[in-house]
Symmetry: C2
């Protein structure tokens, strides 16, 4: 174990092969940003690119930019970039809509492939919107589908002949625990079940090999580790072997085989393009592309190695400097079982986080008791973790968090 003194960590920062990436982001002074798992930081290249799209492509090019500026190809272009980050073959990813809508589309298409099965299986404690979408779709179909939530260690046992789809989030949004995608996918397939992976906390953060795992479907988020900006478009993946049979429930004109023929009857486009629905959001796609292109530049093995070291460092420093304050570590210690965030529990999580934010250390809380810290190797230094833990120590030791202003609940937590 390295010696966790600040000078030693300064040396680690100097030796960090990813160190140069930090300057590619526009980070505010006086802030240690540990919430890149909720909203990724702004790439320095994004403002100029967005300004170009707005002023030149929209303002001057006007409608001509659909052809002249390549807007029509932008969704597939961004999708192709994302594919390289998640081990997806060319032509298996589509970009557009929100994660919720893409989940709906994939889940609808998946259920149609298993017409004799009525169960959607998920993990208890999965990100709620995944469950919400499944609940809404089941109610809409009115064919007796239901959502079954199994505890983590009971997922395999719950796979059975009625399970159409296994819907899992690869890295848990609360604890940062990571599933074994290959093993769970294989187990599901052995039961005749399709698997839909939510990569919200995975894409750009941890190695993902959808093709190698023979994954069926995946969905992911553009505004977390892909740094696409607030509410950035989401992406979806479907294995090419399934494409010809896929019938997505939302059949919009951009998924049509010939969108500008204005045919009377919807016909699916070839391949994953049939997953597209409405007109793609060009400004947002342009911003997302900058974040994705930046992520493509960083070797994933180095990203992963640094994320694990940042997590281990946080855990060690917490034990050493904040051991007296009653924090409970939620993120697994085993590197194979954790993603790129560090989560701890404390009964006063909310005011503690408000005090941290007020003192320049930005994470977030998931009620009632979880403090989440995102570990984004492209923007964080080892010394940032040191400094954050020192702020946390002060907030706890001096009971800073008890101040009335930190008890006030915000709309968004």
């Amino acid at each position: 174990m390295p010696s966790n003194t600040r000078p030693a960590l300064e040396q680690q920062d100097r030796d960090d092969p990813l160190a140069a990436f930090r300057d590619r982001f526009a980070l505010p002074d006086g802030v240690i940003y540990l919430d890149g798992n909720s909203l990724g930081a702004l790439p320095r290249a994004t403002p100029a690119r967005v300004a170009e799209v707005v002023a030149a492509e929209w303002g001057t090019g006007l409608i001509r930019s659909w052809n002249a500026a390549g807007w029509i190809d932008l969704p597939a272009q961004v999708a192709g970039r994302i594919a390289t980050l998640i081990g997806a073959p060319t032509g298996s990813v589509a970009v557009g809509d929100s994660t919720s809508v893409n989940l709906f589309k994939l889940l609808g298409a998946a259920l149609a492939l298993r017409p004799d099965r009525r169960t959607i299986l998920t993990e208890a404690g999965n990100f709620p919107t995944d469950s919400y979408i499944a609940q809404g779709l089941a109610a809409l179909l009115a064919q007796g589908h239901s959502l079954h939530e199994a505890e983590t260690d009971a997922i395999l046992a719950a796979l059975g002949p009625d399970v159409a789809v296994l819907l899992l989030t690869h890295v848990n949004y609360r604890t940062g625990a990571m599933h074994d995608m290959a093993a769970l996918t294989a187990a599901a397939h052995a039961a005749g079940t399709l698997v839909l992976w939510d990569l919200a906390h995975s894409a750009g953060a941890v190695p993902v090999d959808l093709a190698g795992c023979e994954a069926d479907f995946a969905v992911g988020c553009g505004y977390k580790f892909l740094n696409g900006g607030p509410g950035a478009p989401s992406f979806l993946f479907a294995a090419p072997r399934l494409h010809a049979a896929l019938r997505f429930p939302i059949t919009g004109w951009f998924g049509h085989a010939a969108p500008f023929a204005f045919d009377a009857v919807w016909r699916p486009a070839d391949g994953i393009a049939r997953a597209m629905a409405g007109t793609p959001p060009i400004l947002s796609l342009a911003a997302l592309e900058v974040g994705v292109a930046l992520a493509q530049e960083a070797p994933m093995n180095l990203v992963r190695e640094k994320a694990l070291r940042l997590g281990s460092l946080f855990s060690e420093l917490l034990a050493e400097h904040c051991g007296a304050f009653g924090f409970r570590v939620l993120t697994p210690a085993d590197p194979a079982l954790r993603g790129s965030q560090f989560s701890i529990a404390h009964s006063a999580a909310y005011p503690i986080m408000q005090a941290l934010i007020a003192h320049g250390v930005i994470g977030d809380v998931r009620m009632p008791d979880i403090l989440r810290f995102g570990l984004t190797p492209l923007t964080l230094r080892y010394t940032d973790i040191w400094d954050a833990v020192q702020v946390l120590r002060t907030v706890m030791a001096d009971e800073v968090w008890r101040a009335p202003e930190y008890q006030v609940r915000q709309k968004v937590t």
Copy 2:
């Protein structure tokens, strides 16, 4: 009838009470933009606002901006502005997702309100994506729903006891013909049918009084007459009297009664907020708000009056200067029956439009034979119509459109 000489039209431009709005848009030199019905022009205020959201709110504010910059309230704020343009009560409009997805949500909710009926009635020649969405939803539900397309003059006769929803576009995308919203809504209600109005070519362009017409549902586009930018978010409307019973098919976390409680079970938010699905696209919403706010400044009676005059002028000048070239006018002459575009047919529509665009007059085509010209009173001058018709006359008289480069089909037409 005014005397249609260029000097007379210059005087009309000087007398135009909306003339000052033109300078609020960043229009390129050398272009007469007659495609604002497809992609609205860039408001001058948009680049600075988008830059502020990107650099300050995202870059510096980071995750804090959900509260501090009011991102969480932005969708409802933009929706409230749009409501004022379409005669919708406060709290009856939601913004987000694409028009296709919003149509899907509304149509799903509408069919659930008429469980004993199986027909969706629309107009033959309606914008295809409206029909596509209905076809896809019917296939998904697998309950025997079908889409019936009636000719325009047969819509009333097609209303019957099995028609759950009448799905109509207020202003036809090809011809610019406008329906009588009040009369058709009343006729549908008399048959027990709900009505879903597509306002893509209406919002910001023609007077719309959803409340006065007792409309049930409406959907509309952010990037046409609302000038929200390419792929801007769409809006949807549902009458408040229906809200409590509405079950939208896509049940995402932003439509939950308490999105940040992360409850296991989806519960609908009060009112129209339940129509929201995923995380709202902040950059796009900020751009859209600028366009909508600008539209709010322009008195609709003046906008309507000028649009009608621009259309009549186009028709008169076409007859006078291009009468020999075989154009057929598609847009009704009756002001009560037309929206804010002027459409003409010609067998060589495609190359004619390419030649017009190459000579600075930008409209678009809808194959096989329609040339569309959007009439946007906030950016257009009466002399622009004169100049455009002169270019058209040259393109036709000199057979400019026969040049080989104008025959090449673009991806987006």
